[in-house]
Symmetry: C2
Subunit: 339 residues, 2 copies
Amino acid sequence: MALGEFDLIRRYFQHPLAQPGVHAGVRLGNGDDCALLQPGPGQVLAVSTDMLVAGRHFFPDVAPRALGHKALAVNLSDLAAMGARPLAFVLALALPQIDEPWVQEFAAGLLALADAHGCALVGGDTCAGPLNVCITVFGELPPALALRRDAALAGDDLYVSGSLGQARLALEALRGRWRLPEAALVRCRQRLERPEPRLALGQGLRGLAHAAIDLSDGLLADLGHVLRASGVAAQLDVPALLASPAVGPDVRALALVQPALALTCVLAGGDDYELLYTAPVAARSALERLGRELGLELSRIGRIVAATDAGPQCSLVDERLQPYALPPGVELKGFDHFA
Amino acid sequence: MALGEFDLIRRYFQHPLAQPGVHAGVRLGNGDDCALLQPGPGQVLAVSTDMLVAGRHFFPDVAPRALGHKALAVNLSDLAAMGARPLAFVLALALPQIDEPWVQEFAAGLLALADAHGCALVGGDTCAGPLNVCITVFGELPPALALRRDAALAGDDLYVSGSLGQARLALEALRGRWRLPEAALVRCRQRLERPEPRLALGQGLRGLAHAAIDLSDGLLADLGHVLRASGVAAQLDVPALLASPAVGPDVRALALVQPALALTCVLAGGDDYELLYTAPVAARSALERLGRELGLELSRIGRIVAATDAGPQCSLVDERLQPYALPPGVELKGFDHFA
């Protein structure tokens, strides 16, 4: 193997955005013991880290360009859920061997998404080992406008962006548990492998939304995190959810033949990388405007209520607030990496 | 396995330093999509990341407490080399399975070092996979005082802190290539498994030193990084180095029977986590004072000179600046994870 660690970094991971003077928030890019970052005046630094492991978060034979994209996308999604603007990231990469075409494709997918969001690759670490991608991402935002998980209030509306369940549907198809038409598989796989972090939405929600979270574990599981952090409960209006654009065409088609699987995909799919957020009723028209501006569907799917004796949990209800009974066979377990 | 991902984090990785209001630089600790960090007035954020892989950076059966210590120590060492003060870190941990006693020991080693340096664990990620520890650390410093690699000037003295080579010597012994007396093995293994990041030294060097780097790859390899970044050359005074406290008692004893291996350990050992730095001649007495205050040996081992046609490289010289010939058998290759 002729190419060493330092050559690899020089050849594929030197990012023009990290060069001196290019990016206001980057005082010093990669090549030193540390990078130096400076949030703008009145801003704090938002930090998140996510590790992707072969066989657990992606198929070992995944296209490297898609993997590069997704590894950064899932981190940017955390910035989006906080309302932060991306600034920079560091990459730690363990590779079984140096396969130059693979690394080139991985870097291309990674840096294309970084460029699209002005997020500079400012440092990292490369070593030999079982394939593992660990990214830590940095964003900036005024601290008072952070969209925290613990800020949901009784009376808030509950929203979700975009559409849910396609990534899970692709996973079911790739694992051979469900057969999808070719065109649907291509669309769903795109959602699984190349999620688009909702950064513009997250920043647009500053000052409008109360709490927000990104959907990585599944709608009900991630909603549970918000409810516990905020000490409130929720009523999820299942008919409103099912009638909304949050159920896209492929999942809607599935629902006609296999409703339990469709509900599993929507309620507990995982890997959606949409935003779930709460906002006061007074923000409804501003949120409609925001959705139109961004060309993004924002679906109102329920409400936040005071926690009862049953604790900070989510009830499934119909349009008359009566309990909604799911058909048998829906799997509602949130995604737990060790479960 | 009864314990899930979220239980694991709640039980072992909730850090009192990351609770609200405890740490001035931590606006929001873990539990949300992002942590929020705020460097002090006039300070920027220094960021570094290091990944440790089983079988490559540590023996798979390493004591978990030592591994927790080392995973953070090697990251703090990068902050030290920049002159930064530790603020916070995030941890991404892939575990083959949840072994509670193992995790408890790992967390104890990790958080004891974090507490010793006021460095708050503010977030992370846990997943199933081949054992892999990835830490990203954050420090703060006034940007004009950063100890950069590209700041060495011709005429500077060249220094190294503490002592070199024991970690490599322990590695040779553990791999069965060299037999060490039991007491020496215990001492050397301590250096390999529980390095102490030179944070007080790094901050003490602000305004005194020009360039600095931490020694992870070996003295000559890391010196090479400084020389290339600064566009200068160096003369390493080998007799001065060998007479100095930079060669500690165990390596000194080795030199009597196996001089080539002793020189390999000192010049290319790796895993030393001492600081190598350059400083103007005018700083000598201030540096002597600093070493006394810290109770740390600071050895002057050469000088920075203008780069010649041969480029930014290091010459080995004797006290009369004549070329110093190493005995046969010294291995000078810098550590490359893919070599």
